[in-house]
Amino acid sequence: MGDFFQLLSDPHGGIFLRQALVVALAASVAFGIMGTYVVAKRISSLAGAIAHSALGGIGAAHYVQERMSITWIEPLHGALIAALFSAFLIGFVTLYAREREDTIISAIWVTGMSMGLILLKLSGAKSVDMMSYILGDILLVSPSDLWLLLALDAVVVALALIFYSKFVAICFDQEFAELRGVRVRVYYFLMLALVAISIILLMNLVGIVLVIALLVLPAAFAARFANRLHTMMTLSILACMAFVTVGMGVSVPYDIPAGACIAAVAAAAYFIVLVGHSLKRRISRPHVSPKL
């Protein structure tokens, strides 16, 4: 960790690291909030499909860049459009289609990912390393991306808080919310769109495969300690910030992919509280009166 802080304060070499850390800490706020909704509403598989379909957009953006010479389209733009599109598609399918939900989610998941891999290959871009998108790469956060990412973060956090009670209601009891005049479909689509944007915030850093871990694990970790949804949000924001900082701190000096380190730290923390809780319950069981 000492090396990490030394690198971070390096005026020249530390620029990418500083940018990555700024994005990671800002995105932790969006992740803590949206992750709480995802865990509470049990839609982590939907979020996984959205994350993976972002690769389709990255591939398409590279293809357009290389083959059609439209250079102002960045991979980040492609990823954002693809994630929002798949969020809309998944929302539509889960609300209206008669097909089995998990089947069609898996189909969208692999379609996005395979399209991305095919288009990346066809684009012929020499400098593109597919693995850096899939597993994440700190160097992928460019200075021009930085401001877009921070703006998206602000949008997600603002909307997620403004519509707090509506989101809580559709997580807890969507049918009742609908009966009380809440336009549940609109809020469901909005929630999926905010999840999609959140995923894009950290996709560069953590990679498509592992970004979902950072959405779900801090919230699942926080759920062990929280009695209310907003406490769970605060705790998972702090947990997410801690996980990315520690993960990056470990990854940089040893030159391990940051995404893998961050996800591993998050998973370790989650399993520790899980085991801790079940041990505590086992120890205190004789003193607990049976619940009705």
Partner: protein, 263 residues
């Protein structure tokens, strides 16, 4: 006074019909669930819907709540379409409907009954006061800050009724309110319903016919078609007609699964 309360509607005399179904039929993918259902419910009436699993009870509720549209026939709720009239229903869903791990306080559950009064995300102090009053009416005010999932079955049921009451309903619609509740709690529950029935009509779905015959004035038997019986006339023969076989086991022990009666 409540600034955001809906404008006062025309007062409904006691004898007014608040819910009327005429010739309602519904099918899921060409599998008929309900056929030619007609009945009506008046203000401050108390009725119970009984019937076998798969007989169409839930479908009937969803039709009344405007969550499904009938294939044919007409449903009139407080003189409007169900979607327009349903804000005057206080609805309590089945307990199995809830995630047992969900982190939410009792007060926040009850506040959901006021969702129609807010445009963005936050409830006012006045909404919180109304939620506390509803909780107090069901003797649950002391539990306001407790976690909903840590309550017993009977307590959770009271909280959900408080949530339905905070909507200030003219019709209370309770889906399986006596499931997972022990006998002693059930006695209390019966007294609470009688008290509430002075202010509003109550319609409940139950397997517990013993409970039903003591509280409600009439029974709506649902099994594809619908028969309405005044409780006083309720005989074993009527029940057999609906369930297709002897109801004794269910009548005396509603915990006995009725799955064996699937038609």
């Amino acid at each position: 006074m409540i600034a955001s309360a809906p404008p006062a509607t025309a007062t409904t005399p006691d004898t007014d019909t608040i819910l009327r179904l005429s010739g309602v039929s519904f099918a899921y993918d060409n599998v008929p669930v309900l056929r030619d259902v007609s009945f009506s419910i008046h203000a401050r009436e108390s009725v119970c819907i009984v019937g076998p699993n798969g007989g169409g009870k839930s479908t009937l509720l969803k039709l009344i709540l405007g969550l499904l549209k009938p294939d044919s026939g007409e449903i009139e709720l407080f003189g409007c379409r169900p979607k327009a009239g349903r804000n005057r229903i206080g609805y309590m869903p089945q307990m199995v409907h809830f995630d047992p791990m969900f982190p939410i306080s009792v007060r926040d559950v009850v506040l959901m009954g006021k969702l129609d009064c807010i445009s963005t995300g936050w409830f006012s102090g006045n909404h919180k006061k109304l939620a506390m009053e509803a909780l107090a009416e069901l003797d649950m005010a002391d539990y306001a800050d407790r976690r909903f999932s840590n309550l017993s079955g009977g307590q959770r049921q009271r909280v959900l009724i408080a949530r339905a009451l905070v909507c200030d309903p003219d019709l209370l619609l309770l889906d399986e309110p006596t499931a997972n509740v022990d006998q002693a709690v059930e006695e209390d529950f019966y007294a609470t319903l009688e008290k509430l029935n002075d202010r509003m009509a109550i319609m409940l779905v139950s397997h517990d016919l013993g409970f039903v015959s003591r509280f409600v004035k009439s029974v709506i038997c649902v099994n594809r078609t619908v028969h309405v019986h005044p409780t006083a006339d309720l005989t074993g023969r009527d029940i057999r007609e609906v369930y297709g076989e002897d109801m004794a086991a269910i009548r005396h022990d509603h915990r006995c699964s009725s799955e064996g009666h699937d038609h």
